[in-house]
Subunit: 317 residues, 2 copies
């Protein structure tokens, strides 16, 4: 397993990231010496994945506090680095109460522990011989360690329930083909990368038993924002009678966002697709709650109506 401090860590005077843009070709690190530099690392996707960017923001804030930076400015620059994931705002709210390095490290440790818990719950949903399909990277790289959706696959593999994983390559930035495949290889789990557009015919052929994904923000009613392409997968899974599971920590649930309509969707540089022709490049989409079979958090498995179940969890948190 990828050690949490290899993915990101706070040192005395800097935050150090494994540069996810260069994987799997190279395991290079990027060091940031201010909150603004950490925000840049988030924006340029040195680090990505909703829980991981929450942890990155916590480390950036702790670094700013240690350096005597203006904490209001640090909060603003970190918060603005990416708009869709709610974990950024969640982690910064946590850090305002206690901006210490120890607190930031505790947030990191807790996120990884939550992954282990949700992965165990999610694995229980899988039958022996499961061939799962996943999209983007909801692995240790995305959560600061262990992973949410990929954590669920690792847990299912350890329980001998998982046979194979179809990995959507995940255009345009290929987080599936670069990062998820790399993590599954390290875990020894049989897998094959596919074009995102090949998922439908694999489902039609009966070669997909469930779809397992992470989340960037879950609205109060269960509507879920995740990497572009997730919504289409949910429609396809519904059409083919394939269960569709969202695996994410409670830090991704946003009780302040009523429905998916209220989630801001980041539009990224069209040049990520093509620099030669006009292009449109939304980074996320929203899957309505009715297409989701279950949402799995560290506290357990939630079924519709998600609103009550998720709210009860928040109250207990």
């Amino acid at each position: 397993m990828l050690e949490p401090e290899r993915i990101l860590r706070l040192e005395d005077d800097r935050v150090v990231f494994l540069d996810q843009r260069r994987l799997p070709l190279e395991e290079a690190e990027v060091a940031c010496s201010s909150a603004a530099e950490v925000a840049d690392a988030i924006r340029t996707m040195v680090v990505r994945g909703a829980p991981a960017i929450g942890i990155a923001a916590a480390y950036g804030y702790a670094l700013a506090a240690a350096r005597g930076e203006d904490l209001e400015a640090a909060d603003a620059v970190l918060r603005a680095s990416r708009p869709t994931a709610v974990n950024l705002a969640w982690a910064l709210a946590e850090m305002r109460a206690d901006p210490s390095a120890a607190h930031a490290r505790a947030i990191h440790r807790d996120e990884v522990e939550r992954c282990r818990q949700m992965a165990a719950h999610a694995a229980e949903l899988m039958a022996p011989g499961t061939r799962a399909l996943t999209h983007c990277n909801a692995g240790g790289l995305a959560t600061g360690g262990y992973g949410s959706a990929v954590g669920a696959l690792v847990s299912a593999w350890e329980r001998e329930l998982l046979e194979h994983v179809w990995v959507d390559e995940t255009r345009p930035l290929l987080q599936g083909a670069r990062l998820t495949a790399w993590e599954l290889e390290a875990a020894g789990i049989p897998h094959a990368v596919i074009a995102d557009s090949a998922a439908a015919s694999l489902m039609a052929a009966g070669e997909v038993d469930c779809v397992v994904i992470g989340a960037d923000r879950i609205a109060a009613n269960g509507d879920t924002a995740n990497k572009i392409g997730t919504y289409g997968l949910a429609v396809l899974a519904h059409h083919h009678g394939v269960p569709f599971y969202v695996v994410a920590p409670t830090s991704t649930v946003d009780p302040g966002t009523a429905t998916g309509d209220d989630i801001p969707i980041e539009e990224r540089d069209p040049a990520e697709l093509t620099a030669r022709f006009p292009a449109r490049n939304p980074a996320f989409d929203v899957t309505p709650a009715e297409l989701i079979t279950a949402i799995v958090t560290e506290r357990g498995v939630h079924y519709e109506p998600f609103e009550e179940s998720l709210a009860a969890e928040g109250a207990a948190a």
Copy 2:
């Protein structure tokens, strides 16, 4: 408009292709001096698109006849170059009756003329202000001139019915982002390239009025093989109430193939997706007839039940 002889042509002692692998960066040509070299050009996708590879096979066969090659061997090597499109077999059957250069050129001319006819029929299906979505390249490059699905868009644009085209980039070989965008730019039609996985959320947002695609083989019952990702688009279009149109010449209809289950699906080199990890790379998928709103050929618009309508057309041909 891209001139047919720029896309492919028969010269005295060779067949010359515009190298579609190098577009849009470079307009280079590849010359083939035997049927085997033409088969290589088809296999390696110097030329692609079901009608265009039919024309290429006709030229290859005529070249073999002019050179005094063994015509049975020429037929076999050309036929085996790609398995899914039926146009290869159709064109070779035509050429066996008359292997002359004039006949091959007539096949080319006829395919382009059929495109103009089917495009006019398909444009009539579109209302003013249409925002269409297309996948892969069913343009002049794919048909030897004018285009089937892209021809329909050009015809709708000329009639002032078309507002905008969403172009699926079409992984792994990016025929949309490289070839269709290039053709639409040349025609002056507003367009934007999208990740294949972004189509679903554009449909959910009401930004897609119809899907228009070509075909590699249409079975007798209307089941349609086309570039991987087409079937998923059809499911998504159905879910969102978006019309789904197939535009293809009768040379793509195969009365000898009863249903989509009988269409061989080419599996291409996984390295087209990733050379680093295991991958699965089917080049095509099959869309069942019940997800297709209409099939448009040079003879007109066909609705369900396609079996009778397509068979009647074959009889009239």
